[in-house]
């Protein structure tokens, strides 16, 4: 049980470090109790944009979102679920980071389906398929705006 967990932990940590480097910073995962991981928790140390390593509390709104998404992708790379649903995860991101996360989703969508709700151009423009939702007399309707080539 502990070996299996440690194996997973090592792989997710490696993913997290790689992903965090690609968003411009240093990040690592640490166990509170490496001897007996089930007695402790999982810590995230991260320093966005190569600032000093800081506690998660001191991060800005956008830095917290980036760190959270890096953790999500670190797990997805190891064991991709069939699909992911992300509802406006880019709301606090600046234009550059919204575009960066859009690219990450695009990459990750090779192994899993991603359904992403967003108001940001930097995200929407990267999607393969685009649906528009609108309301008519209190009832929601959906229309296909851009459908992938196979959809026709």
């Amino acid at each position: 049980k502990k070996e299996v967990f440690m194996e997973i932990f090592k792989k997710v940590s490696k993913n997290f470090q790689e992903i965090y480097r690609s968003i411009g910073g240093r990040g690592r995962l640490r166990l509170e109790n490496p001897e007996d991981p089930f007695q402790g928790g999982l810590l995230i140390d991260a320093s966005p944009q190569n600032k000093k390593l800081q506690s998660l509390d001191m991060m800005s709104g956008g830095e917290k979102s980036l760190t959270a998404l890096a953790f999500l992708f670190a797990i997805q790379r190891l064991t991709p679920a069939p699909f992911y649903v992300l509802d406006e995860v880019d709301a606090t991101l600046d234009a550059k980071n919204a575009s960066l996360i859009g690219d990450m989703i695009k990459n990750a969508s090779r192994d899993s389906q991603f359904i992403v709700i967003s108001h940001r151009e930097q995200m929407i423009s990267k999607a393969d398929t685009l649906y528009g939702v609108y309301m008519e007399n209190g009832i929601s309707k959906v229309v296909g705006i851009k459908l992938d080539s196979e959809e026709g």
């Binding site: 649903v85 989703i105 398929t129 959809e151």
Partner: protein
């Protein structure tokens, strides 16, 4: 296995909508209040969310479409999967899992599969649904659904809760 379609019938602001979900990256856009997050609530509903509050409703009956002063009889959401790899233990290429809540309070799950063109359905227990989804790493406390405004929850949760996310994978 992959998600192929979402059917929303009398669920929140959706009267009868079918949404095809292709492979890859699908974006959903639309004005404020048009019903985008209601689709996410529909997915969470089928995946087994137990509290109406977590579906942004006071009671289950609030999930049923209210239109022109009248509430419909029932709400139903179905997730259809492409099951050609048979990861869902059912002999069918197209399998649906659906949840239905009635105004009178019934709250049931159904398994849907096809024999030729004929649709078959049978009621299944919630524990069977949870089991099917957990083999697919769906539902439960996994990170595959991030609700609106919730993205930083991963950073704000306790270290123990965060470790549990890795336990789920082991």
């Amino acid at each position: 296995v992959s998600l192929s379609e979402i059917h929303l019938k009398n669920f929140k602001s959706f009267k009868d909508t079918k949404l095809k979900i292709p492979l890859g990256f699908t974006a959903i856009v639309g004005p404020n209040g048009s019903g985008k997050s209601n689709i996410v609530d529909g997915i969470c509903f089928v995946l087994g969310k137990t509290s109406p509050r977590s579906l942004r409703a006071d009671r289950f009956k609030d999930l049923i479409t209210y239109y022109r002063g009248k509430r419909a009889e029932y709400a139903e959401v179905t997730l259809f999967f492409d099951n050609r790899d048979r990861r869902i233990p059912v002999d069918g290429d197209r399998v649906g899992i659906s949840r239905k809540v009635k105004l009178k309070g019934e709250n049931n799950y159904y398994l849907i599969w096809y024999q030729g063109e004929v649709e078959r359905r049978r009621k299944i227990r919630k524990s069977e649904v949870i089991d099917i989804f957990s083999r697919l790493s769906l539902g439960g406390e996994r990170l595959n659904i991030i609700l609106q405004g919730d993205v930083t929850k991963i950073v704000e949760m306790s270290p123990k809760e965060r470790r549990k996310l890795l336990d789920e994978i082991s």
